[in-house]
Symmetry: C2
Subunit: 217 residues, 2 copies
């Protein structure tokens, strides 16, 4: 991945642009608002003020040659859709677009976005899940029925060894790793004991993991 | 967790509110815009149109008795901060607030938010990482130096057994699970073989994992 254009330098777009630039990609940032261009001009390879619905301007910038283009215009649905159509017509290899709603996301897919993201909706779900399960720090959905979960140990599990806890049989959960303070144990053993405040990384079936989570409250 | 108020029913707030309600929590949604209230009125326990900077209105609604309040007002920084101050004064047990920038996040913490989230910034980083490593589907940062990664297998690893791949010694990575189509294998064995298109779940040190990711391109 060498050259990426990010259209829309709002909170999401600026974050994509800067993170990509910091990992060695050459990024062109485009925004219609001067202040948003200025905010990243010192960091990106190139930062341009332009209206991305202006086909002539977009062609001039050479956007069609990018390895990928990120359309990070969330609220202005018409601009988001029209810019995506334009990029598809230009033959851009990979288009990632931000959507505000599920309907917006479907429209973007129909007009040619290869991938659509809904950051506020996804984070909203994540925050809701962390609120209902305070022990849950983070998770990955591996499938509709399996997850990896990072959980904080409360007195419920504390003071026992992994063998005694027998999480595999009781909760269908494998302990992949655990963290105590700054120390990461990536090869946990059966006679390792768990203390309150430790962070356990578990992989398993959702039914068992959620049962364990509710007991950790 | 029984009662939660969500102030601000934009994309993030509406997602938090609806997800919480669907998991059995009684949610009161508050927004100054009628259309945002109407959009969730059929789902939430209660949906109210009000200006949350109006202390009298907030007291009337009984927000102080909630187990947690989510301040999901991102762009209007003064409203976000003033509402947080007000909730802190009312003695609300847990305040989660959405921030637009790092500076906004620091301010929220100073005025009493227990947790601050930056959905667009976090997702921006995540998308940037997925763009630079197309094989990377999802990940959890376990520590500054360790992660769990969900990656797609390319020809680079295909056709070999886990024993032959010897990922632990070559890339400091443990295979926790792998998925083929809809089938999840949560107890991978040394003589299991890996095919192109399989999804591997790996835990290990970032240096080794990133070396493996770059070889998967
Ligand atoms: N036609 C356009 N051409 C270029 N930039 C545009 C255009 N329309 C909107 N933008 C820019 O895109 C950025 C993001 O748009 P907007 O604020 O509408 O979406 P958002 O999804 O709310 O953003 P955020 O990423 O902050 O959540 C803004 O900085 C805006 O100036
Ligand atoms: N004083 C207030 N009282 C109640 N609701 C408010 C107030 N100020 C803003 N809101 C509502 O909060 C919601 C989110 O605010 P805003 O759109 O400014 O933030 P945002 O971070 O861009 O939202 P999103 O979650 O969509 O990304 C909006 O629906 C808005 O009407």
């Amino acid at each position: 991945l060498k050259d990426v254009a990010v259209i829309g330098l709002g909170r999401f777009g600026a974050s994509v642009a800067v993170t990509l630039q910091q990992s060695g990609v050459s990024v062109m940032g485009i925004d219609v608002l001067q202040e948003n261009v200025v905010a990243v001009a010192g960091v990106l390879t190139q930062a341009v003020q332009a209206d991305a619905t202006d086909e002539h301007a977009v062609k001039e910038l050479g956007v069609r040659n990018c390895d990928a283009v990120v359309v990070a215009i969330g609220s202005n649905v018409s601009a988001s859709l029209l810019v995506t159509v334009m990029l598809k017509d230009l033959g851009v290899k990979q288009i990632i677009a931000k959507a505000s709603t599920e309907l917006h996301a479907r429209a973007l897919k129909l007009v040619g976005a290869d991938r659509v993201v809904l950051p506020e909706r996804d984070m909203g779900k994540r925050i809701a899940n962390c609120l209902t399960s305070p022990s849950l720090l983070d998770y990955i959905d591996l499938s509709p029925d399996h997850s990896v979960m990072e959980v904080t140990v409360t007195e419920f599990l504390a003071g026992k060894t992994l063998r005694q806890l027998d999480l595999r049989n009781r909760y269908d959960a494998n302990v992949i790793a655990f963290r105590r303070g700054n120390h990461m144990n990536m090869a946990p053993r059966a006679d390792d004991s768990i203390e309150t405040g430790d962070v356990l990384v578990l992989a398993g079936g959702n039914e068992g993991l959620e049962k364990l989570l509710s007991k950790l409250q």
